[in-house]
């Protein structure tokens, strides 16, 4: 076997061994014709193409001083410890390495926050930076002042009480239910995070006797810091929504009835689906070995998964439940979209680098078109943001290759299938958003 034909990690991951061998320039005796190989350099070029930039946003203005508050807090925490720790400050070398690494991560996360594309992304990054900085500050307090877990219990109790107090005043009010949904959904998620973190690190049910030490105490403190940050952000988003309202109405009933209506519709439409069925049994076309088989499988196995909707609903998280409905409808419609396409003859051939280029291009175009044409950009953009992220991920999975490397097509079939997934999801997103929005406003 020539060096060029050494299976790469990617190849091994993608496929069983025999297929990898079969892709290696047609070894004799393996039967059948060998699939084509693609030019690695051209693949690098294709996967280096532009991806739409879609920042995650929330439809309220996050105050600059709120963002700055996170930055300042991170800086204060980092300034509390003598960094980097030396062996007199933290004699345990393994802990010292871990804590110095956490300090580095806190600083680099702080830098990352300056380069994000929206204030909403900035606060998410800064919550993380605060957690890491608190880790470091706590390590020093543990060593220098004898801080222990029990000294943090009051903080935890206060956070839990503050979460409860916030939940008491959290009510679904607003003007436009769609805009309100897009604010309440992250508010609910953030409060859930704060609530979980107030309990500290949940004990791993598979572990017992976990001795307390400097590291476990820093983990607890970091959880509290992230929880506090999340609650602060939730409060800010909620207060900004309120401040913007010139007139408002109670939306709880609106959310509930929209949820009921959409849920019934979803259940009706998916009642015939069984995710355990092989996709070949539900698609009337020959898709074996076509990259389109991949997204059809992903989507089909997940359609009719309505568990997260009911979980959120049971937890009183109406906005999260509605967003979950949006997600499930998107899955369903994307599956139907792809099924219709293959049943009407679209074959998604993957035989040349130009096939890869065309399939990737269709994913990128679908995202751009979705963003341009959606009547409900707020509801659509976060799905499209995630799809853009997925294209970036797939790009980095496919390449890079050494010059003149030949890539058996089987190695990238699954990756290319994920571009098709992106295209399908992006295509159907505007319609799903419109359905959800109309139901909310009706």
């Amino acid at each position: 076997m020539s060096e060029d034909c050494q299976p790469t990690r990617r190849g091994v991951l993608a496929l069983a061994g025999s297929t990898v061998l079969a892709g290696c320039g047609g070894l004799p005796g393996l039967g059948g014709s060998s699939p084509p190989s693609l030019d690695g350099a051209r693949l690098d070029e294709i996967t280096g193409g532009d991806v739409p930039e879609i920042p995650q946003t929330v439809p309220v203005t996050i105050a600059a001083d709120h963002v700055q508050g996170h930055v300042d807090r991170t800086g204060t925490l980092l300034s509390e410890a003598p960094l980097p720790f030396d062996d007199s400050e933290l004699p345990n070398g393994a802990m010292r390495e871990e804590m110095n690494a956490a300090a580095e991560q806190a600083r680099s996360t702080l830098d990352d926050a300056e380069n994000v594309r929206s204030p909403y992304e900035a606060i998410a990054t800064l919550r993380d930076a605060r957690g890491k900085a608190r880790t470091v500050a706590t390590a020093w307090a543990y060593a220098d002042e004898g801080l222990r877990r029990e000294d943090l219990e009051d903080d935890a109790d206060t956070l839990a009480a503050d979460v409860d107090a916030f939940r008491d005043r959290l009510s679904y009010v607003g003007e436009d239910p769609v805009r309100a949904l897009l604010v309440y959904e992250p508010v609910e998620s953030l409060v859930a995070v704060a609530s979980q973190n107030a309990e500290g690190r949940p004990e791993n049910p598979r572990t017992t006797r976990r001795p307390e030490n400097l590291v476990t105490v820093t983990e607890f403190a970091a959880a509290l810091e992230r929880g506090r940050s999340a609650l602060t952000d939730a409060t800010h988003l909620f207060d900004r929504l309120h401040a913007d309202l010139t007139r408002s109405r109670d939306l709880a009933g609106t959310f509930e009835s929209a949820l009921d209506e959409l849920f019934v519709q979803l259940e009706t439409e998916t009642s015939d689906f069984d995710g355990n069925d092989p996709v070949s049994a539900v698609v009337d076309a020959d898709i074996d070995d076509s990259p389109v088989e991949v997204p059809l499988e992903y989507l089909h196995s997940d359609v009719a998964r309505t568990g997260s909707i009911t979980t959120h609903r049971d937890d009183g998280e109406l906005a999260s439940a509605l967003v979950a409905v949006h997600r499930e409808f998107t899955r369903l419609r994307a599956f139907q979209d792809l099924r219709d396409r293959v049943e009407s003859g679209e074959n998604y051939a993957l035989e040349s680098t130009e096939d890869v280029a065309a399939i990737r291009e269709s994913a990128v175009t679908a995202i751009e078109t979705g963003l341009d044409e959606t009547a409900e950009p707020g509801l659509s953009r976060n799905t499209l943001h995630n799809m853009a992220g997925l294209v970036e991920n797939v790009d980095s999975e496919i390449g890079p290759y050494d010059a003149q490397e030949q890539v058996p097509v089987d190695w990238i079939r699954r990756d290319v299938g994920e571009y098709i997934y992106v295209a399908a999801v992006a295509r159907v997103t505007p319609d799903v958003s419109e359905t959800v929005a109309e139901t909310l406003r009706s």
């Binding site: 992250p186 998620s189 995070v193 017992t208 001795p211 400097l214 590291v215 999260s320 509801l379 997934y421």
Partner: protein, 245 residues
Amino acid sequence: MAPTRRQALSSGIALLAALAGCNDRSDTPESDGVDGDGGDGGDRFARPENVAMDPESVTIREPGTRERIVEVADADGEVNRTERERRRAVREGFVTSAEAASWLRIDDVDGAETARQFLDETDFEESFVFLDRGSVRQCYERLVCYITWNQSELRRTYAEVYRDYDVPCTAGERDSVATFIRLQGTVDPQRIESDGTHTRYGGCPVPRWRLEDRLEPENETTTVTDEATATDGTSAAVRHSGRHR
């Protein structure tokens, strides 16, 4: 925090939650490193024949070396096959008689006296000692979680946890350790063999035969609640909790 591809695919149509819920709990020591099923076959949840939770033990260690700190003395002069077999069993760790204990040569390290005393105090009519010799990362200590055995095999389950923050140690170095574990009952050293060790980073695993109870939230009463505090890894204090079988 970029979602992994599979996450992005399965939940990835997710909206704001992806950022809002970004609750990074990346933690190093708790990862289940060496933990695994260990391939002991049979019913995963079947309770082994003999179980000692948190048995009495003494651990001694020597920094910066992997050389064994406890050796089994060779017999003087010519020895017959039976005699060789008996010493082989002790080298495997099964110390089942006072005579076998007398073959142990413990290096002059911290805690050597305590270890010798631990052996001397053992009533070999009713109990035996398993001696585990190996090495541990210098900034960590190895806790004995539980031992399971039957007449043919004995298995150790350990936790590897950080030593105290103020213990000077070098990441990447290892120390030689020897752990003496006292177990109730008797075993035939000619029949029993070591069935290896199972190490969990960060804390002791819940035994499999208790896991079902523990993962069943309705059944909290059976939850294991041992909560030992960190021990100073340099000491050789006898640890015990009286929970045998």
